[in-house]
Symmetry: C2
Subunit: 658 residues, 2 copies
């Protein structure tokens, strides 16, 4: 077969492929990330690359203007390699991992809690890790006492630590007799809380109770976050006697990476579509497992903890990510009536999934509720403490989908709305994820209409992320550049507002101020997309509350989770009608709620039981069954809302209508 | 490396080996069975082979007379291959599988029960298989009812069959969503009873409740027996409405084979020794698994049942066989104070052990009690029903070891005595297992001292098996050829009694009447061995009874299990003092007790619970801790016993002492 050489710049990576290979596929194989939000269908136009030398067969596309085509741009997913080629990946497609948010960086607003305070959202729990070690000493067997080794060990655990109902892992039995003797009958056992008792999963020589770690992982559609936790018994003791300031509960190490499944589709739907191709499901599972292995490796390397000391892996993920991680066909998640295979996943050995941890390590997977309300939401609800409070909480997790939960200690109801990924950069002309070069804060001079923009990494901008978008739109309306329908006033005397190829637009940065060969603009279409996204989430909250006979005013607390960037300006989010107008002190922003819950579960076996209870007690509403959702959605397609009474303070601050 | 060719006759099998290879090892690799009861140490002298052509390096041995050496005989375990050789395997070493005992053949004595009656030993149980299938129909998911597929299935099982507490196997989840839809929501589920509820292990399209099978296997030290059972729901119905005559509970098919571990040592001790050699444990596990796979294959082929319809595998074995089957190091079973790794083995997937059954099939392994009282005894006690009767039963399983249990519904006590394998042919000059050509019945004319012998297969004899040995010794004493100490009267006028190379002996068959080049004799040394074996078992019973303050006369029933051959002549067993003198109707011979219990457990989940209870309630005595055992043993080294009052009827029938 004729082989062709492809070189990607700026990385310099090259790969040999068969003549006739698809260019996007070739990039995936080379490990080169190119944005592809439509799963390689030519529909999204995201996978633009520039052919520097050589030829590809590539049709014209409505997603690629003729002038760009003439300048050498092609959609990678539509291009067939016929020649040795050099391909330039546009800067907006390049993945920059250096600015992924780290814990402790995002607490620059009063409604943001410290890690210590975040742990206090849940009350009345003690540090009693789900997986724990106990030191036991046994009398050696004698002629008067020659019970089996297992019975001797189980009896010692029962007698010395008052732990009953212990079952045993077969793998451990295989090595146990020799180990007990080598250890001179002094061993540290590792036990894991199960649904019906405890399982004995490991035994080590001597006292190893001071070395016990767990890893918690949030598999997000876009990003995977991992943390290493120290479960050793000193932590428990310090928390019990009050000498702990809470910092012992922080992660020992953190690591994160983009979910490499992005290369196969940017959202859950395109990934489910990809999973139905031959080998697709296997590939999606392999890449996410590989990425988790890399994160584990980074956590262990940076902390100096040996892999043998990790006793547990906790995973929180939405339902699609959960099924893909397990290699479980997600087909029916996206077909009405949207049915997951299973919400409660039995515990299993990590090695069986390809995770590189000790043979004895089990994986706990947060239970899901429905096809679009997953383990990440159950984890978030757990971390929010709303399931144990008598007063009423609304929990919002805003990502590609918006998931919303309302309730208290007696009941929980949820829904999810396909908000669209505007806050994560998709569907916005210059939208991007919250990485280096993204505009994250915007302020506009009400007289000159000139903007002040701040970017992540404080470099020349290459696009705009979720928080920047909220800021920009809030400012555009507040200074009177757009009206409440999101349309530009046509008669403003500023070169910043102009008619562009996609209709009216506001120039956030002229080309000379960017790292692009283009002006960075926000178009009317972008604003329409944002309005649809925020309208969808607001309507999702409204209908959920209505379904249980409530309104926003009844809420005692709103807890917001999600990744808008490093900042979420509450006031501006209210200004555009994403959040309901309420007193600031009723809001709490917890950042990654999924990871918070996973951490709590690892520290507390009591909360493990609660997680399952939360999943079982949550009633999910399918919004497609609620005709009122469409009415509420349409009513919310206005800035801040068509119901002015719902936003009295915002209304007071709007400029007088012309 | 220089290769040499070895040809084995009469099979004609040949193998190429490196020059310098051990001949016994070469035979093992070629799959040729040669008796080797000492694990290849040159100590037992069993592995005699005749070199027909070519040369081996082989020393003289005290186990091989000079004349045999001169005739070309060598001990295979001491021989090193230096040349192409042709080797003849003596007839007594050849394995003949054609006469392994089949169910239903052995009921020619009044105290032998029919299979139907044997099942009646246990009372008050219904046919409710441990692994069972249920047909369920579900409404397809709809927008108003879109719970997860698993929840839908579990709810249907609960609603339609009132089965609660169902956990799920991860493997099943992987295929479940597609399967339910392909089946149009009408499926047959397979559930297995676990210690804490039920586990859902399989689902099939449509109604498959009429096709459900299990396989039960007894892994004996010498022989492996397997049976295929029909668990389909008609069996249950027929048994419930009384229309079943019990025959539905018989095996659909039976198969058996020698335990191929024999090649690595004839008893458990030599096998444990072998397991400590490099690769030894792995090898022992591999060969037993391979043999079980062959048996499974034979069961399925002969019955025409497809492998996919087998839902369960039940294993009953002594503690050493259990640990070797699992690949679990048995080292500490043979070192004082004789400690097994574990008595309760968690259930596991059959495929994980290398067993060729469906992915979903779990293995149930009968719990053990101690190093020398294993799952086979627990199974036997289960099958005997003694654990549920108020009256007192003694259960004896006589094999290479003798295991003895006494008790009733409230308590059980056990011990085991290393009886020695005399009843299985070992330690007896012409001893052999109960296969074709074995003398199984002996009668001696009290006037002429001429014997009448019957062999298995009614062919010329090649040796004598356990039942023949009991017959012969009982007759020798009854007609006055030997005295109560087992010594030959020196002055008898018959050519049958003579002084041979090993001392006095009785000629059972002259060379011309055999298939050997030798007379078949019973020597004083053989009789001494038999007396030690029977004395050990009798003393084991006595001490066990004494330890609980009882005597033989207190027993309501004696249940005998074991493989002496196809017959066990109770009267003659009593005559030599193997069994206590009691009314015949208090004895019951159940044949393979281990297999009986395994079958019951497969048919009744209630009895599965009982099996565990039996193992836990059984108190084991280590005879080495009982000094009185040695006294009782010595007292029993007499025919029938030094305590003449214990055998009044036998004493009456003995000839007047001269």
């Amino acid at each position: 077969m004729d082989k062709k050489n492809i070189t990607f710049s700026p990385s310099g990576m090259s790969i040999k492929v068969d003549c006739g290979e698809n260019l996007l596929q070739a990039a995936m194989e080379a490990g080169i990330h190119i944005n592809a939000s439509c799963g390689g269908t030519g529909a999204c136009g995201k996978c633009r690359v520039k052919i520097i030398s050589g030829n590809v067969d590539s049709p014209l596309s409505s997603m690629l203007p003729q002038e760009d085509y003439n300048a050498g741009y092609r959609l990678a997913c539509l291009s067939t390699v016929r020649d040795d080629v050099e391909v330039e990946i546009p800067i907006e497609s390049q993945v920059d991992r250096s600015v992924l948010v780290k814990e402790g960086q995002k607490f620059d607003q009063p409604y943001l809690l410290s890690p210590k305070d975040i742990f206090q959202l849940v009350q009345g729990w003690d540090v009693e890790p789900t997986v724990f070690k106990k030191y036991v000493e046994m009398e050696p067997p004698s002629k008067d006492d020659n019970v089996s080794d297992l019975t001797r060990l189980i009896n010692a655990i029962k007698k010395q630590h008052d732990i009953k109902g212990v079952s045993t892992d077969f793998k451990l039995l295989m090595k146990m007799s020799q180990l007990l003797r080598d250890a001179n009958w002094k061993v540290t056992v590792t036990l894991v809380q199960t649904r019906r008792g405890y399982k004995l999963i490991n035994a080590e020589q001597g006292d190893r109770t001071h070395q016990n770690y767990s890893i918690v992982v949030d598999i997000g559609t876009t990003t995977i976050f991992g943390q290493l936790l120290d479960l050793n018994q000193d932590v428990k003791a310090a928390c019990a006697d009050g000498s702990c300031d809470g910092s012992k509960l922080f992660a020992l190490a953190e690591a994160s990476d983009y979910n490499p499944q992005i290369s196969y589709g940017e959202d859950v739907i395109t990934r489910i579509v990809y999973s139905q191709k031959p080998g697709g499901l296997k590939k999606l599972q392999e890449v996410v497992v590989e990425s988790i292995n890399n994160i584990i490796d980074e956590l262990l390397t940076s902390s100096g903890v040996d892999v043998s000391l990790v006793s547990h892996l906790v995973i929180a993920a939405n339902t699609t990510m959960t099924q893909l991680f397990l290699g479980m066909d997600p087909k029916y998640l996206r077909l009405a009536p949207y049915v997951p295979t299973a919400n409660l996943i039995p515990p299993m050995r990590a090695v069986h999934l390809g995770i590189k941890l000790g043979d004895h390590v089990h994986v706990y997977i947060f239970p899901c509720v429905a096809s679009y309300v997953g383990g990440d939401i159950v984890a978030g609800v757990l971390g929010s403490g709303m399931f144990q409070r008598p007063d009423l909480t609304l929990y919002m997790d805003i990502g590609t989908n918006g998931e919303i939960v309302v309730g208290n200690k007696d009941w929980l109801a949820s829904d999810s709305c396909s908000a669209g990924p505007a806050f994560e950069g998709a569907g916005i002309k210059f939208g991007m994820r919250a990485t280096r070069g993204a505009i994250e804060e915007v302020s506009i001079n009400p007289n000159t209409y000139e903007p002040m923009i701040l970017t992540i990494g404080r470099v020349k901008p290459i696009g705009i992320c979720g928080s920047g978008l909220i800021d920009a739109v809030a400012q555009l309306i507040q200074v009177g550049i757009i009206d409440q329908a999101g349309k530009f006033y046509r008669d403003l005397k500023t070169e910043r507002v102009r008619k562009g190829p996609d209709g009216y637009e506001y120039v956030l940065a002229f080309q000379k101020d960017t790292r692009l060969n283009d002006d960075i603009v926000l178009t009317e279409i972008d604003i329409e997309n944002l309005i649809r996204t925020k309208g969808s989430i607001y309507a999702g909250c409204k209908v959920l509350l209505q379904s249980v006979g409530l309104d926003f005013k009844d809420l005692d607390r709103v807890i917001i989770a999600g990744g808008f960037g490093r900042h979420l300006n509450l006031e501006k989010a209210m200004f555009i009608g994403l959040l309901p107008e309420m007193e600031m002190d009723r809001f709490t922003f917890v950042g990654n709620g999924s990871l918070l819950g996973a951490r709590l579960l690892s520290f507390s076996k009591e909360l493990l039981q609660e997680a399952e209870r939360i999943a079982l007690m949550m009633t999910n509403l399918e919004l497609s069954n609620y005709p009122s959702y469409m009415d509420e959605f349409v009513a919310a397609l206005f800035l801040p809302h068509t119901d002015v009474n719902a936003f009295p303070n915002v209304m007071k601050r709007l400029p007088v209508k012309r």
